[in-house]
């Protein structure tokens, strides 16, 4: 039974077979991706996550965009919009934006680190599987790349009205999006689950 895998989209059973490096196994019936072979998955994800965490701190600590209209200067951080929405009584929107662009991406980065470092060191801390499952469930809700498009649209909207000056945090944010995408692509959850498996 160990070598069997069911397609998560159509439930068809497959024999899992070893893949060549960079290979992808797809369901023969519906075409869903069953698994991929990724080289040095753990090491690559660890490196990218550490880089991502540093960029995340820079993106949140430094000025993001500066808005200049004649003598008035308005400097903002990533979090400024959330605070301003909260002040206007839009706490639901403030909460949604805070969760999807700050809290959940941060938890995903630190959570990945918390799972992968013990795996790398061959520790078996308590409830690590539960922890990894929780971190994985945050994935669809981290929307930093969507936020990036939002910045572009807002910038185009305001560019005729005033000067928009990008800050360090904006550059960090842009790199962070690529790092996060690379990390998601490098992560092989099957390897993590197999290593986490207590029964083996």
């Amino acid at each position: 039974m160990k070598s069997l895998i069911a397609c998560h989209e159509c439930d068809l059973l497959h024999q899992s077979q070893p893949l060549p490096p960079g290979g992808t196994a797809r369901c023969i019936r519906c075409g869903a991706v069953l698994y991929r072979r990724k080289q040095n998955s753990l090491d690559r994800v660890l490196a990218l996550t550490v880089a991502g965490l540093i960029l995340f701190i820079v993106a949140n600590a430094f000025p993001f965009l500066t808005f200049r209209l004649e003598a008035q200067i308005q400097e903002t951080n990533l979090i400024t919009g959330v605070i301003e929405l909260y002040r206007q009584g839009m706490w639901i929107i403030a909460g949604v934006v805070l969760l999807t662009t700050v809290v959940l991406p941060f938890l995903e980065l630190t959570g990945t680190l918390f799972v992968l470092v013990p795996l790398k060191m061959r520790w078996r801390p308590w409830k690590l599987a539960l922890f990894f499952r929780t971190v994985r469930s945050f994935r669809p809700w981290g929307m930093m790349e969507v936020f990036m498009i939002g910045i572009l649209v807002a910038a185009v909207k305001l560019v005729k009205m005033a000067n928009i000056i990008p800050g360090i945090a904006l550059y960090a944010f842009m790199i962070l999006i690529f790092i996060l995408a690379a990390s998601a692509a490098a992560l092989d959850p099957h390897i993590v689950w197999q290593t986490l498996d207590k029964r083996s």
Binding site: E9, C10, L85, A129, R199
Partner: protein
């Protein structure tokens, strides 16, 4: 006719939703909940109450869609003038000012994609309930699109967030978020949950030769 393909369900196996481990389905344990021995997630052969949950969420999203598009999402207060914008009037503004690509991005992300998702999910649900045999592979593909595309609708909410953060120059110019934004965020989040609660394996269950008999037993 080809022999029926062997699914995990027919082999009395359950694939874990979270870590994809194949487990033996406990025969007499209907009603009892099983959990995955590897990751601890609850095991279900199919997502529980998938059709009813997805319907409920879709209907809620359709209801939210209306105020999301009718109510203003931003209010600009500039030198005593107050101007409210809905999602559509924002798109029209960009078209008029010649920013075609931006107008297209907003229109696709905020108007087209949410509606597309709602209609696709409705279509998938009806087809599953009618046990349709029509192009299961393409319907699975449609489901994949619905799942992948949903998050991008959030763009407008982020645009409002950034506008609100940048433009607060007192009486000179201030932008405030409007009630439409709450409903719009509601539509995006509810449709994401709807896509998650739909189980694409139901599309393929209608292909099973003994579908009716198994349901009854």
């Amino acid at each position: 006719m080809k022999p029926a393909p062997l699914t995990a369900m027919r082999a009395s196996l359950v694939s874990c939703h979270s870590c994809h481990l194949l487990c033996k389905a406990a025969p007499a344990a209907q009603g009892l909940s099983m959990s995955c021995p590897r990751c601890g997630a609850q095991l279900h052969s199919r997502k529980p109450n998938s059709i009813a949950r997805t319907w409920a969420l879709i209907i809620a999203a359709f209801i939210f869609y209306l105020p999301a598009n009718v109510l203003p999402i931003t209010t600009v207060i500039s030198l005593g003038k107050v101007q409210s914008d809905t999602i559509m009037s924002g798109v029209i503004y960009f078209v008029k000012s010649g920013s075609w690509p931006i107008a297209l991005v907003i229109f696709v992300a905020s108007v087209f994609v949410p509606l597309l998702k709602l209609f696709l999910l409705t279509f998938l649900l009806i087809s599953v309930q009618r046990k349709s045999q029509w192009r299961p592979k393409d319907r699975t593909r449609l489901y994949r699109i619905t799942e992948a595309v949903g998050r991008w609708s959030m763009v407008d909410i982020y645009v409002v967030t950034i506008l609100v953060a940048l433009v607060k120059l007192g009486s000179l110019a201030t932008i405030e978020a409007g009630p439409g934004a709450i409903f719009f965020a509601g539509v995006v989040i509810i449709t994401m949950f709807a896509a998650m609660s739909f189980d694409p394996r139901l599309i393929w269950d209608a292909q099973e030769p003994n579908d009716e008999r198994r349901k009854q037993s």
